[in-house]
């Protein structure tokens, strides 16, 4: 059963240095508040898993929290590059970053296999691509009925998955809606699950398109209003496109980035 905890306690209790951590949310509901708390707590040596690393992992990578990234598209959506990600990959700053790189279809199916507790998933993917040459988690299987060869991808089972949702009830049942992405799969694939929410409510009234994660699949719920900013929570906040655009300049320069993190994230810890 989920415990309702402060974000600080939830991160301290569930996210440890060296963990494989998935923080999902496909553009929508990205758990920035939790990432900032992880940065403040100096969690390190993480294997970060996420289809679209986005600004959230640019920040974690730039602060040196990650040793490895598992992903499928590492850009600033609609803006351009993730400069901290590039700097880590190209120049090893602030530390080298190992990569395991997939397509979206491959990553999505890796989570599906993880949530289903299967060791792998099958897809029609990667054919003719150079991607398999750089990854140890892409292989092939042969259909026992037709003889067709298909791609196989290894399951992802994070130590901990962190997501942001619109709300939870007092028992810790979690509800999210809008673009639901791959969050259900990421949560069900993990050993531990931390959910930040916009608010706690008495009753989760059914909502169109909503996904419910029952309390018994979640370890901790922490209230973090606007906890997806600059991403958003449909029905609560809107995407701060201006922030995403301004991130390009902030993140281009190492010093500007560190200054920004110091002023906007670490400050909160003092």
């Amino acid at each position: 059963m989920a415990e309702i905890r402060s974000l600080r306690d939830a991160v301290a209790g569930l996210v440890h240095s060296g963990d494989t951590v998935a923080m999902e949310g496909f553009t929508h509901l990205i758990p920035f508040a939790a990432a900032h708390e992880m940065i403040r707590q100096r969690v390190s040596d993480l294997t970060l898993v996420r289809m679209t690393p986005d600004v959230i992992y640019d920040q974690l990578i730039g602060m040196g929290a990650a040793r490895k990234l598992v992903f499928s598209w590492g850009g600033n959506p609609g803006v351009g590059s993730l400069h901290r990600f590039r700097d880590a990959v190209e120049n090893g700053w602030p530390r080298p970053l190992e990569l395991d790189e997939h397509s979206h279809a491959g990553m999505a199916n890796r989570y599906v296999a993880g949530a289903s507790r299967l060791p792998f998933a099958v897809l029609r993917g990667y054919r003719g691509s150079d991607l398999p040459s750089r990854s140890g988690t892409i292989s092939t299987v042969v259909c026992p009925f037709t003889g067709e060869e298909l791609a196989a991808v290894a399951a992802i089972n994070p130590d901990v998955t962190v997501i942001h949702a619109q709300r939870a009830d007092r028992d810790g049942n979690v509800q999210l809606w809008g673009l639901v992405g791959v969050q259900k799969e990421a949560a069900l694939a993990a050993s531990r699950v931390l959910v930040t929410v916009e608010e706690i409510v008495d009753d989760l009234t059914p909502a169109p398109g909503a996904v419910v994660l029952p309390s018994w699949t979640v370890d901790a719920v922490a209230v973090a209003p606007n906890g997806a900013h600059p991403s958003y929570a449909a029905g609560y906040t809107v995407r701060d496109n201006g922030f995403y655009q301004s991130w390009d300049a902030v993140s281009r320069d190492r010093d500007a980035f560190l200054r920004w993190m110091d002023e906007n994230v670490l400050e909160g810890a003092r």
Partner: protein, 252 residues
């Protein structure tokens, strides 16, 4: 009216969607073109985004493929695994519309890494995203990118996404179900695979562009198709619709 070269590119990319019923829309330039097509020639066009939206009808160009309006205006929103497995992989989508960093003469695409030469680290691009499976599974594929020798290269540094592989028959040998790229729309013109060789050849130039300009901006000896056409100038309707869409989303 006057127009920019990017507008020329987008207008022609939108026109290339004529007759399509469903389009899997990549981030960036493809999204602008697909939305313009829905606003002009193909009002019934079903836009599908990898964020899980089926039938999005945004009134403005989304900055990202996950903007709220894409979900709010969709006929259905499904999970990301579902969009890739039940919708894309199943071969339900007529056209896949992709951007690209590097494209070679067989319309193969690199969006992963670029070789910066000896002693320098590889340059990092965003990565594959949905592209390998979009290009594999859609009925056909359109590519849109700016025309330069940096983008249109003799040899890819990395094959992220297969277009026509190493030429005729490649797609069949690889087991790629869709027809692959049928047009590469740039700010200078349009290249299409030669029916015999599958090599991209210049079939159209935009008004005010010469074939020599396009050849000079291409990293391989670009063949010019017999009967080279000049694309129609953007109409007032097209430009007005495009500019209205772009309002409020400066970088889409």
């Amino acid at each position: 009216m006057t127009w920019t070269s990017d507008e020329l590119m987008t207008v022609n990319a939108a026109r290339a969607l004529a007759g399509a019923r469903t389009c899997f829309v990549g981030i960036g330039l493809p999204s602008a073109a697909a939305n313009l097509a829905r606003r002009t020639t193909e009002p019934g066009l079903v836009l599908i985004y990898e964020s899980g939206t089926l039938g999005s009808k945004p009134s403005r160009l989304p900055l990202s493929i996950g903007d709220g309006e894409l979900a709010d205006t969709a006929d259905a929103v499904v999970s990301v695994p579902e969009i890739f497995n039940y919708w894309l992989q199943a071969g339900r989508i007529d056209v896949g519309f992709l951007g690209a960093a590097q494209v070679d003469r067989f319309a193969n695409v690199n969006t992963t890494v670029v070789d910066r030469g000896p002693g320098r680290p590889e340059g990092r691009l965003p990565g594959a995203g949905g592209a390998p499976e979009i290009a594999a599974s859609c009925g056909k594929v359109l590519l849109v990118l700016r025309h330069s020798t940096r983008n249109l290269v003799r040899r890819l540094d990395f094959v992220t996404t297969v277009g026509h592989g190493d030429g005729p028959g490649s797609r069949a040998r690889l087991g790629l179900p869709g027809a692959g790229p049928v047009a590469v729309i740039t700010d200078l013109g349009i290249m299409r695979p030669d029916p015999e060789t599958a090599e991209l050849t210049l079939t159209d130039v935009h008004p005010g562009t010469t074939p020599e300009q396009a050849v000079a901006a291409t990293g391989w000896p670009l063949a010019v198709a017999p009967g080279l056409r000049v694309t129609e100038p953007p109409t007032e309707t097209e430009l007005t619709a495009l500019r209205r869409l772009a309002q409020g989303a400066p970088d889409a």
